[in-house]
Amino acid sequence: MSLFSRLYTGLLLACFCAAANASIDIAITSKSGTPVQLDQAIVYAVAHTIPTDSAPQTEATIVQRDLQFDPYISVIQRNTQVIFPNRDNTSHHVYSFSPAKSFELPLYKKQLPGPVLFDKSGLVVLGCNIHDWMLAYLLVVDTPFFTQLSEGNQQLVDVPPGKYQLHLWHPRLHKKDLAPVEVEVVEGQPLTATFKLTHKLKSAFRPEAPGQQFDDDNY
């Protein structure tokens, strides 16, 4: 993509933002209709009409701290660079075998290596070859319109008018509940998108670290 078209796209997006961007309220319900709280769940909107392959401006960070990845779940736009600072007083050996990004990154004590570029969209499951319990999910999406839900945030904000496929992702979601919902953002009209889960959530799977209480003493 040329610099001109990048600028053009940026300008176009800026216009949309300034003009009439809207927010989408997100609701997740179980099969029976009761609300479901899915902390850190990712919501992202892929546009039918607006070009969304603008290069992201920022770097993302996934820290290794207390023998765990932080954050556990994160989302970035394709072509974002991610840095992996090691804040532990021990070495890590970060890896992924995921098709979206297969890599290994040795991280020696308190070292800050160069960033890793994620240039394919998809799910990247991170691990550490030294500390087998370490696990993190990085979702690489092909859109700038994404957010992570929390108790205080159930909205995808600043979405320009248009038609979108709205996706919901969380490691506890069943495969069949990952189908997107179609939404149309119209200027001045409030919009609520509802994800109705047809399957039970998988059990919360995150192997714990041995815990500072027990394992940080080595003599």
Binding site: P207, D217, Y219
Partner: protein, 421 residues
Amino acid sequence: MTRTALLLLISASLPWPCTWAAENVHQPSPLELSGIVELQLSHNNGLTSWLDRGQGKHLHGGNNNNRIQNGLSGLELDYRLSHSAHLKASVLYNQKPGNRLDVTELYWQYRPLRQSRWRPSYKVGFFYPNISLENRGRLWSSPYTITSSTINSWIGEELRTAGAEVHWRNLGRQRQSFHDFGVTTALFGFNDNTGSLLSWRGWTNSERQTGIGGRLPLANRPTFAPGRVLADQTPEVEPFIERDNRIGYYSGLHWNYRQSTKAALHYYDNNADPSAFERGQYAWHTRFLHLGAQHRIDSNWELLAQYMRGRTQMDNSAGNVVYNHFDSGYLMLAGRWGPQRLALRWESFHVDDLDGTFMDSNGENGSSATISYSYRVGEHWKFTGEAINIRSDRRERRYSGLSQQADETRLLFSTRYFWAS
């Protein structure tokens, strides 16, 4: 010879990573060094120590009180050959006997990055089998207590893998499960003498670790006298020797649930030819079954338990000389509150003498209790107060005109300084 070579190795490698690090600030040195210096002040109430060829269970006897002594002091070297391969060595200073530097571990470790369902890791060299639940610190130290349990004291004294070990791990994360499994198998040599201390001294609680070429003293026995059945035995034990050129093995199964509950099962057989003999040392055929379990009760308390049951046999030209069954088990409750640790350990141990050798009783019944409190100051200092009481009943003590029963207590205050590059 070994000591000189080691000193050369250490001194040669010391300045090198420093200059390297100064030139390439962002490139970490491939050599990591860590060390512990421990000084102890102990008060002992008991018989003359077995280390002084006495019948006492502790490292220091009743005549060795209120003196400052070396505890666990040494250096650990970790040289990174690649992201997955390391060369590791541990050198300890043993004050008794003979003021020597002992290489307690020296091995190559390879943990390749594999996507496979069973991920392998390899060790080749001279190293501890992964049996102890206590000794998970640097230099095989225990963060819980100064002295190890009877099982792990014996491993520190007489058991080591001089060979190759493969450990396969099956990670629950690949199955979206909290259950990890592991399988270990190893082939080794140079452990033909293991079992002799258990027979001729019995179980004990100690923090001493034997290194390559190490020798441990034995109390005099009537059977060692000229003309008697073991007249050819030298009055010491060399745990890490090869006498019969036969390969020993062990296998283990491991289970780990959420990093909070662990269990392991091992079977060990040194496969020694019990009739092999050379230069004053017999081969002992020793095999045992080991069970270990650890459970973290909450964020402060954990429970550890190990149990071992086995047998050992030694023959000479006259036939069977020693045939013993042995077993030992402990239960430890350990608590931690920030820099403070408290450990309470109870154990029970036995040796059943099943041979008919005259004046060579190895039978033993005993129990021990340990209470340990430690306080850590910053990253470098740890102060520990510990009391260990061992009550034992050994018929053998009668040969020296002593009472069969002994009730021995060791009170110690320890200061450990820890450092890592």
